[in-house]
């Protein structure tokens, strides 16, 4: 496990500027809480703009309106004798109201995060997860898990090839040991 501290060297190629900058900042220095808070604020990913707010509000509205229509179709009834649709109808109304509120008044909020070049990492991660879900029933979990480990460590994490291969093999072997040999679960496995 204890290999060379290749983290910073490996990452510099793929990562954004702040990680390198942070390492330098980490030398002993005096920072007041206010400065520290400001530094954390500055290191945060860029805030998403108005478009993100419009988009997410529209998704919320879509879900709300969809649920509204479906719950009306289920029948509302009266408060004293409710049909299945009444409670979902009430919630959908709240969702629609909040979605409208967010669409109109939330424009200037800056609490979302922009998608940056770094967002390819979760996308790649998701692709490997989806591939694993698709392949597991067919060829068992071992090979997809090994590939997932290698991609996550080498390409998303910037580990060295050596530590990637050693750790990935160890991880898959121990999962096999735990889930298949020790616990005897019915997880699809090849070997």
């Amino acid at each position: 496990m204890e290999t060379t501290p290749a983290v910073s060297a490996g990452r510099d190629g793929s990562s954004a500027v702040p990680s390198g900058g942070y390492a330098r900042n980490d030398l002993p220095e005096a920072l007041t809480p206010e400065q520290l808070a400001a530094q954390w604020e500055a290191e945060k990913p860029p805030a998403a703009g108005a478009l993100a707010n419009v988009g997410s509000s529209l998704v919320v509205l879509g879900v709300g309106v969809g649920a509204l229509i479906l719950s009306v179709a289920m029948g509302l009834g009266t408060p004293g004798a409710p049909q299945p649709g009444l409670w979902p109808f009430m919630i959908s109304c709240v969702v629609v109201a909040l979605g409208l509120f967010q669409l109109i008044l939330g424009r200037r909020n800056r609490d979302g995060e922009k998608f940056t070049r770094m967002s390819f990492a979760p996308l790649t991660g998701l692709a490997t997860l989806a591939a694993m879900v698709a392949l597991m029933p067919m060829i068992g979990f071992e090979i997809p898990a090994l590939v997932l480990c290698i991609i996550w460590m080498r390409f998303l994490g910037g580990e060295t090839w050596r530590s990637t291969l050693v750790v990935s093999a160890l991880v898959v072997a121990s999962f096999y040991g735990i889930f298949v040999l020790a616990l005897g679960t019915s997880i699809p496995h090849l070997f």
Partner: protein, 509 residues
């Protein structure tokens, strides 16, 4: 002495070897995830939910609780040594803890934090022991109307107190309620929102939602974050604080225990808020407030005590009212439901072994954590060197394979991945995932009690106002819902454009 009998019986539950083992496992995992970058206690508990299927309810909750309060201990270590808070509740510890480390007093800071955490945790357990049965007996005559009001208030408080946009947190909560309606309607037996899918006919399970939104969502989100590579010191010496240090910090520890205990009980409160409140209070009380931020021992001891006390006392609303006070407690609620135990006021009476077993296990857990944070702290400091890049795929695989083992079905695994994407996107767009999971857990209870009360009231919603407790709770609900709007309107009148930015920083701090 009748009161103490079940308490003492609880100890015999804790001392069963299995329970002791799971308590140890829980606190070690908690300590580890506190130290390691990335996952927080809520995500870890969500990922490990499948582990609890095969064991007794009391054993499961003992372990999950251990993870929760163990993380409060572990989070301190990275705050002090690396200036990177391991947990949100250790953020304020950074200010003075890291300065103490720079002055070569890292050991003292860690030692004070550990002792403070121990005192705060133990004080809160004692408080819980006496307060919880009282609250529970008060709540025994709660009927459906009171429960509807309480659940509504709980969801609203958790949504509005969370950091970030309130409207978005409320949207998340409403979506959570909507997700809870998927499946069979309990009153008429009709299917709702199943789109003809047989797998959805019984509703969506809590575990895939929690594992996806909290667990996988956070793993994906962390992939994007820059891994802050900081060099960990290899050795920390002298973790035993001197008498002078202890004397200086004792006031802060005492005040932190009380403050944390009460803030932990409030819905939406909890460890993070308690630690911030304690730091602010210590700074205000100090004779030389300028020492804070420059390595004041009280600035470490107070918040660390408070966050641990709050972590413990936040079990009170869950175990006595059946209302989780925060997202982590919502996971405990879900874990208990899986086990066929419905948390509520009858829990103390009907299930004393479970109640007192869990409460008393916390004494043991805190002692174990004290040992791990003082003599054994060196081991955990060494673990700081494990890199996030190696941990991420391991946790992702644990999540996927664990999800499979729940029902031996790939459908659950698919659900986890789908909700993982939802959780990631929610974080990206500034929607808190906590309120969604909390509302999902409470959704069924809320609809049930709402419909039952309306049946009792003959369909007249004003009936809620005729009962004193439900009326009071609803009044508080309205106040909480309306006040922020009024306040922000008034702030806008005063022409405070910069107010938004300072607010942001305060929340972060």
């Amino acid at each position: 002495m009748d009161f103490l009998n079940p308490v003492i019986n609880g100890f015999s539950v804790v001392l069963e070897p299995t329970n002791l083992l799971y308590c140890l496992v829980g606190v070690v995992i908690g300590m580890l995830i506190g130290v390691l970058p990335g996952l927080g206690p809520a995500a870890t508990i969500a990922i490990l939910l499948p582990l609890t299927y095969g064991v007794e309810p009391v054993t499961a909750i003992i372990m999950l609780a251990g993870i929760f309060y163990g993380a409060q201990y572990g989070g301190t270590i990275t705050s002090v040594l690396l200036r990177l808070p391991g947990e949100a509740s250790s953020v304020v510890t950074v200010f003075d803890g890291y300065q103490m480390a720079r002055q070569g007093r890292a050991g003292t800071a860690l030692g004070l934090a550990a002792i403070g955490s121990f005192v705060g945790g133990t004080a809160a357990i004692i408080g819980l022991t006496f307060l919880a049965p009282l609250v529970a007996s008060f709540a025994l005559d709660f009927g459906p109307p009171e429960y509807s009001a309480l659940a509504l208030l709980g969801i609203l408080l958790v949504a509005t107190i969370s950091s970030g946009a309130k409207a978005k947190a409320l949207i998340a909560a409403a979506i959570g309620l909507l997700l809870a309606t998927v499946g069979r309607d309990m009153f008429t037996g009709e299917s709702r929102f199943t789109f003809g899918s047989l797998q959805l006919a019984d509703g969506i399970d809590f575990v895939p939602i929690a594992m996806g939104i909290f667990g996988l969502g956070e793993i994906l989100y962390n992939l994007e974050e820059r891994h802050r590579a900081a060099k960990a010191p290899s050795k920390v010496s002298n973790v035993w604080p001197s008498k002078g240090d202890l004397k200086q910090a004792s006031g802060a520890v005492g005040r932190g225990s009380v403050l944390g205990f009460f803030l932990g009980i409030l819905p939406g409160g909890g460890a993070t808020i308690a630690s911030m409140a304690s730091y602010a209070m210590e700074k205000k009380r100090a004779k030389q407030p300028e020492r804070f931020g420059k390595g004041a021992p009280e600035g470490v001891a107070g918040p660390e005590t408070a966050n641990n006390a709050a972590a413990t006392s936040s079990f009170i609303p869950l175990l006595t009212l059946g209302i989780p006070a925060n997202a982590t407690m919502a996971l405990m609620f879900g874990a208990l439901l899986i086990q066929g135990v419905t948390p509520g006021p009858q829990l103390v009476e009907q299930n004393p072994e479970l109640f007192w077993g869990v409460v008393n296990s916390m004494y043991i857990g805190n002692i174990l954590l004290l040992i791990m944070s003082l003599p054994l702290v060196g081991i955990f400091v060494r673990i700081l060197r494990v890199r996030a890049a190696i941990l991420a795929p391991i946790t992702a695989l644990i999540t996927l394979l664990g999800a499979y083992t729940i029902n031996n079905s790939m459908f659950d695994v698919t659900l986890v991945v789908v909700f993982g994407v939802v959780g990631y996107l929610m974080k990206k767009f500034g929607f808190e995932p906590g309120p969604l999971v909390l509302a999902f857990v409470l959704g069924e209870l809320l609809e049930n009690s709402l419909r039952r009360s309306l049946l009792v009231f003959g369909g007249d919603p004003t009936g809620f106002l005729t009962r004193p407790i439900s009326a009071t709770l609803l009044l508080v609900f309205v106040l909480v819902a309306v006040l922020p709007g009024i306040r922000s309107l008034m702030a806008k009148r005063k022409g405070a454009a910069p107010a938004g930015t300072t607010n942001k920083i305060e929340e972060k701090v």
